[in-house]
Amino acid sequence: MLNDEHVELRKSVEEFAREVVAPVIGDYYERCEFPYDVVRRMGAMGLFGLPVPEEYGGMGGDYFALCLALEELARVDSSVAITLEAAVSLGAMPILRYGTDEQKRRWLPGMAAGEILGAFGLTEPGGGSDVAGGMRTTAALDGGEWVINGSKAFITNSGTDITGVVAVAAITGRREDGRPEISTILVPSGTPGMTVSKKYSKVGWSASDTRELSFTDCRVPEENILGERGRGYAQFLQTLDEGRVAIAAVSVGLAQGCVDESLRYARERRAFGQEIGCYQAIQFKIVDMEARAHTARLAYYHAAERMVAGLPFKKEAAIAKLVASNAAMDNARDATQVFGGYGFMNEFPVGRFYRDAKILEIGEGTSEVQRMLIARELGLPT
């Protein structure tokens, strides 16, 4: 399924993750600190520009390449993987897909180089699954400017020192059918009226940046609208469809990381006179972990392949995300068991995997939401 360039890219990122990320990430995680130096080096090797065309400073690759990079990073650590995922699939991709040429020229080169991070502000304190129904943030035109009021919850990459812009979904009016008209507006970091709260204290992804944003008469020029007025809903549905494939790749990476760690430990750790890997109870756990990672990988490859080929992929993306996040969660639980007490220690990667796995079943559409989407695709009555 992969061509030579994809295989070489995967190898390059695998080396990077092993040599650059693995030795330092545990400390950042423990301190809940954003790993600027690692992110700088990810930028230098072009990871943030993978699916961005060369004319906008990118690598001219495709979304599949991005997914492979995400998987290899997440095999070692999910915080850096999600930083890349959010910056590219939620930050850069909407600008690439819907932006004007001027918006693309302004934002994409810096984003593709990893010098500035983008964020996507969709979820609100009142709701993430029913995001349109729960939306309270508004934007009104006044003297050639959008005036934004409201707040956003759990926004990845929104408060780092290198965050450049947040795409904010807001209600810009009422449609004829009475439903809210939603549009996406680009708000550069540092715009007066946008307040970035302090970082959340999270269960996992501790070295990634997640914050609440609030807007009080926050004014940006009218031309900061992304694409057409009223297209916000369609834009984020498509963005999330793509993002699901990326989250599936992150999940597969975590699931595979659990296998890698368990294989090593099962050969090393001894109990009752032999390596614990000799016991079938341990072997079968690791075998099941490998089977889950493998099948989940096939699921996301399939979805990514359809996406890149321009075929419908909504159902495949939802299935990949559902299956892969479940695999990540199950593998994290089993790997921790293989490690015994050491699995419960933060200094071992599996402890980090355990804490990082759960969010994969929640972010960019919960598992329930994925099932709702699949049910709809199957034509079940609503």
């Binding site: 070489e8 890219l9 390059s12 990077f16 072009g46 690598m59 001219g60 690759g61």
Partner: protein
Amino acid sequence: MNIVVCVKQVPDTATERKLRSEDKTLDRDAADGVVNELDEYAVEEALRLKEAHGGEVTVLSMGPAKATETIRKALAMGADKAVHLHDDALHGSDALGTSYAVSQALKKIGFDLVILGSESTDARTGMLAAMLAERLGAPQLTLASKVEIEGTAIRVERITDYGYDKVEASLPAVVSVVEKINEPRYPSFKGIMAAKKKPVETLGIADADIAADQVGLANSWSEVVDFAAAPPRAAGTVIKDEGDGGARAAEFLASKKFI
């Protein structure tokens, strides 16, 4: 400036490495081949010099067919083209034979600057830079932790046990680098794609005017007479602190003449 970087493919140090029983040479098929680590620093330095001064970076590797993977990585990092010195007659060459063959290839390619790693991770003789310089009649600037070029002058900081020496010469010259010199880049997707289109020229011994009676296992000056697996590491000494741990640790270090 015409820079040639010498790159060796070595077996991955993370895997088990073996010699072949039939001719006592390294079993290069048994382990994954990777770029000799220091050679990535050599490639990086060449790319930085090119970025600063212009010119072209050529990768030169002597090795079996699968050394193309190593060449491809150097090209993906950003080198412009490559020469693969590949001939069955070269198999088993020692450092003298290798330096002769590589120097002949270098004469054919032409160069202002040759950059090497200071040591390989398999044979680890660390002799190649000096031998090449001698054979090419060029100054050698080894163990460089910093390289500066100004016109035809080249200045390096050469690491020593106590700090560094400043050494200056004029181009053309041969430099070998140490890890401290830079932070090698990882190939980007664009680099990987571009590498596919870069020219790789394969030279046999006749193409590079290499005399067959100077290379290969049969013509090596050094001979591997016998070999054995390294003995397993003996268990270390464990000192359990029962109040006198510090003193006993000091005693141990003193007995080994460390303090």
